[in-house]
């Protein structure tokens, strides 16, 4: 345990020092790694720990992004104040979807598909209702001051992403230690057995999706503040749902560091294909290749390596 603690401390120290020595381009990549790890962790808490696989997690991401952006642009809120409001909205959406779906007894694939449909409903609504400005999307006025949650130097947005990622790791770590987390794992492994043991399965599942929704919404606000623009297909598109699911599954669903490892792997594959495209002219449209690789990894991991890449790390010391 102490060796693990030491590794974590070293990793954190490296992550803190990294932007002080890395060029801006690499700082941005690091920021994306931690951001994707964070939203991946929000998926992992529901999909990995509690086994409630969602195909439409982007519904929370978009809810967060739109809530803070609308409060800011239309009602003049400060983005730092809009941030908790966005999390609240994400939590409420999570609660409502969970309440409806789990009350109807949906499980497994059916739950995955209904989340996909909810995300689609939100995307279409964001495309159609006036207060989101429809397909035009919403621009946040650029005014690069920390009080506006906008920064001139990429290092600050990097540190915020790092902080989010660390907080999400701490939440996941707590889930491996407290009774709530233990109940979630019991539900994942065998829902009927968990119920027979006296666990209020419905309440626990609603709770975890509320938590997950609030976290994911926080990521939505972060994204909107980083790029200062959102539209319905960014905020509620299938791609983000898949990204969250992929990094968790590939890294290791239901493990603390799974989403972070998955995010590092996804980014590495992305950068390698981008580099290939720049070096070999014949491969200039090679960008989709990274997702091909990732799709194959998903199939292999689901079939052969249920703990994802984390499983590779973990098995060695145990059998050594």
């Amino acid at each position: 345990m102490s060796r693990q603690a030491l590794l974590c401390a070293l990793g954190l120290a490296a992550a803190v020092i990294y932007p002080l020595v890395a060029p801006n381009y690499l700082i941005n990549i690091g920021m994306m790694v931690f951001f994707v790890a964070f939203i991946g962790q929000s998926w992992n808490i529901a999909g990995g720990f509690a086994g409630q696989t969602s195909f439409g997690h982007v519904v929370f991401f978009g809810t967060g992004a739109y809530t803070s952006t609308i409060l800011q642009v239309t009602y003049g809120w400060n983005p730092w104040l809009a941030w908790p409001a966005a999390m609240l909205a994400g939590g409420i959406v999570g609660w409502v979807i969970a309440f409806l779906s789990f009350r109807a007894g949906l499980r497994g694939s059916y739950f995955a598909l209904i989340t996909l449909a909810f995300a689609e409903v939100f995307r279409i609504l964001a495309n159609s209702v006036p207060f989101t400005r429809g397909g035009l999307g919403m621009l946040i006025k650029a005014d690069q001051r920390p009080i506006n949650f906008q920064f001139k130097e990429p290092i600050w947005i990097y540190y915020i992403a790092l902080a989010l990622c660390v907080i999400s790791l701490l939440i996941a770590w707590q889930l491996t230690r407290n009774r709530f987390g233990a109940r979630l794992v019991a539900i994942r492994e065998n829902e009927d057995a968990a119920r027979a043991l006296g666990i209020d399965v419905f309440a626990e599942k609603v709770k975890v999706l509320t938590l997950s929704g609030a976290m994911c919404a926080a990521g939505g606000t972060f994204y909107a503040q980083k790029y200062l623009y959102i539209d319905p297909s960014i905020a509620f598109g299938v791609d983000k749902s898949v990204e969250m699911l992929l990094v968790s599954m590939v890294g290791g669903a239901g493990t603390i560091f799974g989403p972070l490892i998955g995010s590092v792997a996804l980014t590495a594959i992305n950068e390698i294909t981008r580099w290939l495209a720049s070096v070999v002219p014949a491969l200039k449209n090679v960008q989709p290749l990274s997702l091909v690789v990732y799709g194959i990894m998903l199939v292999l991991i689901v079939a052969r390596l249920p703990d994802g890449l984390m499983g590779l790390f973990r098995r060695k010391p145990r059998h050594a």
């Binding site: 694939s109 909810f118 495309n127 449209n285 989709p288």
Partner: protein
């Protein structure tokens, strides 16, 4: 209030679109009914078949309707092999896992298509594309009318095949009770692969019927996947009659939604039906059990 004649035309167009949806959904419901897997790659495989039709036309000049038998046969073989090599090996276990595997497959297929075919929208330019048939106030595009008839004919042939042929009977036996089917000497694994192949062959047929009046891009699959799932859930997972009725209901819903709510908001009807059916009556209209 809209003119009843416009609504009538809308309903007719919806029925025509529904004809193709039936074919796509029948494939999906067959795979679910026999294998008990939710084939999330269904839309992506349809997209792939549409590209096959497109390239047959572009490179060799084969008319989509003439290509029908070739594409159906090719799609069957593709599905059969895909099941044998990938899906069959992994398809026993938690159902979310199988869903994730077919999701992985669809990611691979979509991006391979993007890699090789580029992101451009491709259409087939057939001489009869602009022909219309006048029916009262409605002008119905000839390709859609042909597709509608052909689609129903193919569904009828498939239904007959399932009811009368030995393979069809074996498929139904496996769908009902796979252990019992194994005991009476049916090669269950082979039936699984054949069923998956037939499901994909339906997509091949749908692709031929769609291309004269539709377009294809690597993301075309997305447009159909939720529609197909909605139809199957609405009709009842695994039910053929359900897929047929559901296809028409969804086709009309889509047409009327577009008419009353506009192009953007009109799409919401399908997703809402999907959610409401799952929440209120997960067995669908004709399903036996959840």
């Amino acid at each position: 209030m809209l003119d009843p004649q416009i609504i009538f035309a809308g309903v007719l167009n919806g029925l025509l679109a529904g004809g193709i949806y039936v074919l796509v959904a029948v494939g999906l419901t067959l795979i679910y009914g026999v294998l008990h897997i939710i084939n999330f790659a269904h839309g992506s495989l349809l997209m792939l078949a549409m590209y096959a039709v497109f390239f047959l036309w572009r490179l060799i000049g084969i008319d989509p309707y003439v290509a029908l038998p070739v594409v159906i046969a090719g799609a069957f073989v593709f599905g059969f092999v895909l099941y044998r090599l990938v899906i069959g090996r992994f398809s026993h276990g938690r159902d979310e896992n199988i869903l994730l595997i077919t999701l992985g497959l669809s990611i691979v297929i979509d991006n391979v298509a993007l890699l090789f075919f580029g992101g451009d929208t491709q259409t087939i330019d057939v001489p009869y594309a602009g022909s219309f048939v006048e029916l009262g106030a409605a002008f119905l595009p000839l390709p859609k009318l042909i597709s509608f008839g052909a689609s129903l004919l193919i569904c009828a042939i498939l239904g007959l095949y399932m009811a009368k042929s030995d393979t069809g009977k074996a498929i139904r036996a496996v769908a009902k009770e796979r252990q019992g089917a194994r005991l009476v000497g049916i090669d269950v694994d082979n039936i699984f692969a054949i069923s998956y192949g037939i499901g994909i062959a339906c997509l091949g047929a749908a692709a031929c019927l769609l291309m004269p009046s539709y377009y294809v891009t690597p993301t075309s699959g997305h447009a159909f996947v939720l529609v197909a799932f909605t139809i199957v859930v609405l009709g009842g997972m695994g039910s053929f009659i359900g897929a047929a009725v559901g296809g028409f209901i969804i086709g009309i819903t889509e047409a009327l939604g577009g008419l009353f709510l506009g192009e953007q908001l009109g799409q919401i009807g399908i997703s809402l039906i999907f959610i409401l059916i799952l929440l209120l009556k997960p067995t669908g209209l004709f399903g036996s059990k959840a």
